[in-house]
């Protein structure tokens, strides 16, 4: 029943102490809210007692009735109600505001933390996961902060005060009133515990329906074109049915017990047990018939707060899980930041014995040694999975190397604060990242103080200026509101940004150029302008584009297989020359339809058409 108990039960959940430290900034307001809630809980009982007193006065045998006493009881009830209302409302308001402030505080803390974790952390998970943690999980903690403590207090204070009061009137009657409550609560909590154990199975099969539904809707165009709608549909359906049967099995047993438990706790049961006990006790001469009044008034109210607590159990559980997730996210290791920058003499980039592994088991890169002289172009070549993208991402520190060093002008990049590192290195990758802000802000991201002429100059060199001028508000247009860019245009915008950032070293993915076949030539012009005069590292896909590079590095399974110029590598007649052959062949390929005899002549339309 106790919130902290259920929090502590599962090892993966937070301990009460961790929880208290997590919510530190709002602890003060929460204490005030709790005090007010306690006042409200007590005040909520007073009107019942006052009405009981009123009844006593009115039922006095001897006339005249004590009118003063009657009115006093009325006023007490009235004021207690006002106090209760004010206290409840204020407690609610304070706790909800505390929760709201807490959400802001914890989200800011998460944001501050996340800007320090390795960039690679973000590529390892979808942005949706981050959103889930930062928006949804934090919101799910709502119950923990805004409700749990207050509900717990009410659930303890109201029954305890009520029971004490009832015992003071008649202990036999109090016992009679308590019996069904005790039985009901006992059954309920036992059942609840079992239910919580089954939660994992439940969540798991719930996840399966989500997956099946996504597959059904996303894949429908595929299944339809293959005339298999029924099959994909039945898969979604099976997942649904499966979930329902899991739920049914899980709930069926629990539901029987909990329904019976609920019946013990319903007001009618209390009504019957109290009235039967009263009539019996009156007959036996143990009590006066008047006791029926305080007992019907108060006895029926013991169970409501208890039930509210029990019903709140599940959302509390969710809240506790969410809190644990938030805490875990805050514990993500951060990238070590150098305190002070070391002097960089030149912009020679060197990879020394670099090895890297994502999981500490399989090496993605193994003992890589590369030197990039200032102003030269180096191309990385290899099939997907050879490690070329990994090398490119180690230089702007998406991840840190597992072994070896990456040096700029003789200084390890780990010894450069990130603000300094990014003054030397920028990158243009395939996945474009433009912000929902003005076009100007997007280009001037690196140098917010850049003048209009500088921004226009960069946009012109990136071949995007003309497109921007077509927008309703030109450079002030907001991206994805009144500035809607195609893939290629977004690419060019990000190239303008890199141009304005003007770093001596540039890492770029050549695939960027043909991500948008329509404006390929324009992106290429923009990239050419960007590359000019910098130390360049290119991840190559089309071999023809990099044949004039100063150095071509052929990667194979994380190792350097060959390196040299295009000529040298062709002369060596190794891996590169085989890749080149394939490349040549693929540029000459075109689709043919009239090649009967060459392939198995699969009856073209004869079998379907008639």
């Amino acid at each position: 029943m106790d919130a902290s108990v259920s929090v502590e039960e599962k090892p993966k959940l937070l301990s009460l102490r961790d929880l208290l430290s997590l919510i530190k900034p709002v602890r003060g307001s929460m204490i005030i809210a709790c005090v007010l809630q306690a006042i409200s809980a007590i005040a909520s009982i007073v009107p019942f007692i006052a009405v009981a007193d009123l009844a006593k006065v009115l039922l006095e045998e001897q006339a005249p009735v004590n009118a003063d006493a009657a009115w006093r009881a009325c006023w007490i009830a009235f004021f207690a109600l006002i106090v209760r209302m004010a206290a409840t409302y204020t407690a609610f308001f304070i706790s909800h505001n505390a929760d709201n402030d807490f959400q802001l505080y914890i989200r800011r803390r998460l944001a501050k933390h996340l800007v320090k974790v390795p960039l690679g952390w973000f590529t390892g998970r979808s942005a949706g996961d981050v959103k889930k943690a930062m928006a949804d999980d934090v919101m799910n903690m709502h119950n923990l902060i805004a409700h749990a403590a207050l509900e717990l207090l009410t659930a303890i204070i109201v029954p305890v005060v009520t029971v004490v009061y009832l015992f003071s009137i008649s202990w036999i009657m109090a016992l009679a009133a308590l019996i069904p409550v005790v039985i009901g609560v006992y059954m309920y909590t036992r059942q609840l515990k079992k239910g919580l154990e089954l939660m994992d199975t439940y969540t798991e099969s719930m996840g399966k329906i989500n997956g099946a539904a996504i597959e059904f809707v996303q894949g429908i165009s595929v299944v339809k074109t293959f005339g298999q709608t029924g099959r994909a549909y039945s898969r979604f359906f099976e997942a649904g049915e499966n979930f329902l049967s899991v739920m049914w099995n899980m709930m069926k047993g629990a539901l029987r017990v909990s329904s019976i438990a609920e019946l013990f706790l319903t007001p009618i049961t209390a009504l019957v047990s109290i009235s039967a006990a009263t009539i019996f006790a009156v007959q036996m001469g143990w009590v006066s018939s008047f006791v029926i009044i305080p007992f019907t008034l108060l006895g029926l109210g013991i169970t409501a707060p208890l039930l509210a607590m029990i019903f709140g159990g599940r959302s509390l559980q969710e809240a506790a899980v969410a809190a644990a997730k938030v805490k875990a996210l805050l514990a993500t290791p951060v990238l070590e930041e150098a305190a002070a920058a070391k002097e960089v003499n030149n912009f020679e980039l060197e990879l020394q014995h670099v090895s890297f592994s994502y999981d500490n088991k399989t090496k993605v890169l193994d003992d890589i040694n590369i030197v990039l002289k200032p102003g030269t172009t180096t191309a990385l070549v290899g099939r997907s999975g050879s490690g070329k993208s990994t090398i490119a991402k180690l230089i702007p520190r998406f991840w840190d190397v597992s072994e070896g060093k990456i040096l700029i002008g003789g200084v390890d990049i780990k010894d450069l604060p990130s603000t300094v590192l990014y003054q030397y290195v920028s990158f243009v990758f395939q996945e474009v990242q433009i912000l929902r802000a003005s076009v100007r802000e997007n280009i001037a991201l690196a140098r917010p103080d850049a003048g209009q002429d500088e921004i226009i100059k960069a946009a012109k060199a990136a071949k995007i200026h003309d497109r921007i001028m077509e927008l309703p508000r030109g450079y002030d247009s907001i991206v994805s509101e009144d500035a809607l860019f195609s893939g290629g245009e977004a690419q060019r915008l990000s190239i303008a940004r890199a141009l304005l950032a003007d770093t001596p070293i540039l890492v770029m993915d050549e695939a960027t150029a043909f991500a948008d076949p329509e404006s390929e030539a324009l992106i290429q012009d923009a990239l050419s302008n960007l590359a000019t005069g910098r130390t360049l590292l290119v991840i190559a896909h089309r071999l023809s584009t990099i044949q004039y590079a100063d150095n071509i590095i052929v990667l194979d399974k994380g190792r350097i297989a060959e390196q040299g110029t295009h000529r040298q590598l062709l002369d060596d007649n190794g891996k590169y020359s085989r890749l080149w052959e394939r490349h040549e062949r693929s540029t000459e390929w075109f689709p043919e339809t009239r090649v009967a005899g060459k392939h198995k002549s699969n009856s073209s339309f004869s079998n379907q058409s008639v």
Binding site: L59, I220, Q228, F427, Q433, D516, A521, I546, E592
Partner: protein, 578 residues
């Protein structure tokens, strides 16, 4: 809300209706049980224990019936809500299956998937869970008022007098909360968007935003959300407190007026006390009802979206389907727009002969992809006709049309399952030879040789555990096995490495043989070799012909070609503009 559910459930509605009825009965019984308290108290306080026992036994009888009904309602409620879930799934699923294919290319896929999965669970869960508290809050008090009237109509009138105020306060509170919830919702949507951006653009934010305020955009969204919540809290709780005040005021009025009358002996003390007990008992469920609004609102919004989905018209199916004569395609004066007012294709006419290659070229947004989609009847045209094999696609049954065309697009969707399952789905009854031919021809053999589990390798969600080129080859194998005479192909094989590109091309060669090909073309070689090139611009066909003829004409195609040639010659070289 329940009316909406009943409407959506259609044939399954009677199950929910019976559940509602039983809950209603429980509410009624509970009301009677409370009302019986009046004679019960009167007899106990009046010392008439004989009568008291009789009323007590009445209470007990009510309790037994109530228990039986509510136990049944609980168990049946679960059964019915699972039945209803499955019914709702089927209804939504049936409807989704007949929607035009084009409908699924929008951004709504994720939303619809979510709506059909947890949306359904949420709606059914909330609605069955809501029944009891709703009855407790509204039916039980009404019954008490009516039953009291049987004993003493004056008392009943006194209680009934408070009802309109309470109802009014409830709806005012609802209205206020609702209004500020909308603002709150908008702010939280904005915040979610900024968080996603924050995570997605993290590399750029860090690399380019050197001033250390990279969280600024996010931070203002966080702040905005906090402030909107604050406003919604203050105003929303004002609504709640109004509701509370009215309920308490009703109690207070009954208390003071009742006491005044009791002191003046115009009302029986036991009656007043019974009345006070009842009034205090009502206050609780009514107060709780204030909080039910939130859950009900969520369910109502979901229901609204389901209704909208169900209202989206499906593609009409012909009742007397025509026959396909050959593998030709024809567009006759076709006009089309995705939404009214914006035409994507305007008066487009062309013919594709069987066994030829037609290349579609033009800037993005010129309508190339739309043409391929109209051939597959992803949408219906606004004017003109699209024919496949000499027959209007609207006159063909969906199954026959789909048997005519295969799509090989850039985004390949594979289903969770093995490589083999994904290929076999094209033709579940394919022979061993047919299957093996497809695998070889599409160069899937090269993939399965490398994988330890071969054909039984799981492709992962959406095919995620295969590379782009591998996915494409699996999808080509699927198309080869399907063996449709018309192939619609999008050539953008972006970011495939040289090896993969060569293999995909081999696969495409096998697929194209002896078929009719319509290609959204990007490669020079492909365009040059085409039997027919359609140059599109602003939704119209600007030029139509073979490569040499169009080049000689010196028009739009010639310009396009020059740009392409320039792009092909691009070379990366520092200090040396390519």
């Amino acid at each position: 809300m329940f009316r909406k559910i009943l409407r959506i459930l259609d044939t399954g509605a009677h199950k929910l209706r019976s559940l509602i009825f039983v809950h209603f009965l429980c509410g009624v019984l509970q009301g009677i049980a409370f009302a019986v308290l009046v004679p019960l108290l009167r007899s106990i306080l009046g010392g008439n224990l004989q009568n008291a026992w009789r009323w007590m036994l009445t209470e007990l009888a009510i309790l037994v019936v109530y228990s039986a009904l509510s136990y049944w309602a609980k168990l049946a409620g679960l059964r019915i809500s699972t039945d209803l879930c499955s019914l709702l799934w089927r209804r939504l699923g049936d409807h989704i299956s007949i929607l035009p294919l084009g409908w699924f290319s929008g951004g709504q896929v994720g939303q619809v998937a979510k709506l059909t999965s947890d949306g359904v669970l949420n709606v059914m869960g909330v609605s069955t869970n809501l029944l009891k508290p709703l009855m407790d809050a509204f039916v039980t008090p009404s019954v008490v008022v009516i039953t009291i009237a049987l004993f003493d109509w004056k008392l009943a009138l006194a209680v009934a007098a408070t009802v309109p105020f309470i109802t009014a306060a409830y709806f005012i509170a609802e209205r206020i909360t609702h209004r500020f919830d909308d603002q709150w919702y908008a702010a939280s949507v904005n915040m979610s968007g900024r968080i996603v951006e924050f995570a997605q653009a993290q590399p750029v934010l860090r690399a380019f935003n050197r001033t250390d305020n990279s969280v600024q955009l996010l931070d203002s969204a966080l702040l905005q959300s906090r402030n909107a919540t604050k406003k919604s809290l203050s105003m929303g709780s004002l609504g709640q407190i109004l509701f509370l005040i009215v309920i308490q005021a009703a109690f207070t009025i009954v208390l003071f007026v009742g006491t005044y009358r009791a002191l003046g002996s115009s009302i029986d003390a036991p009656e007043l006390i019974a009345l006070l007990i009842l009034v205090t008992r009502f206050a609780q469920p009514l107060t709780d009802a204030g909080g039910l609004g939130v859950a009900a609102r969520v369910a109502r919004n979901l229901l609204g979206r389901m209704e909208k989905l169900m209202a989206t018209p499906g593609l009409p199916e012909t009742t007397s389907p025509g026959k396909v004569l050959n593998a030709s395609i024809e567009f006759k004066n076709v006009s089309f727009g995705y939404d009214a007012g914006r035409t994507v294709l305007q008066d487009v006419s062309f013919k594709v002969q069987p066994n030829t290659v037609t290349a579609l070229v033009g800037a993005s947004g010129s309508g190339k992809t739309t043409i391929t989609r109209l051939i597959g009847r992803f949408w219906d045209v606004n004017a003109g006709t699209v024919s496949v094999g000499g027959c209007d696609v609207r006159e063909l049954s969906g199954r026959d049309l789909m048997a005519q065309v295969s799509f090989v697009f850039q985004d390949v969707y594979l289903f969770t399952g093995t490589i083999e399952e994904n290929i076999r789905m094209a033709k579940p009854n394919a022979t061993k030879e047919e299957f093996e031919y497809a695998i070889r021809a599409a160069r899937v053999d090269e993939i399965i040789e490398r994988l330890p589990e071969g054909l039984a390798t799981q492709v992962g969600e959406g095919g995620g555990s295969l590379s782009g080129g591998e996915r494409q080859r699996v999808s080509i194998a699927r198309a080869i096995l399907k063996d449709a005479p018309v192939i619609l192909l999008d050539e953008a094989t972006a970011a495939l490495d040289a090896e993969n590109e060569a293999l995909v091309q081999e696969a495409l060669s096998a697929l194209s043989a002896n078929r009719t090909l319509v290609i959204v073309a990007h490669r020079l070689q492909t365009i040059m070799a085409a039997d027919q090139i359609l140059v599109l611009g602003n939704g119209k066909i600007l030029e139509n012909g073979r490569h040499q003829d169009l080049l000689a004409k010196g028009g739009r195609y010639a310009d396009f070609w020059r740009e392409k040639e320039r792009a092909k010659g691009w070379r990366v070289k520092a200090n040396n503009i390519g």
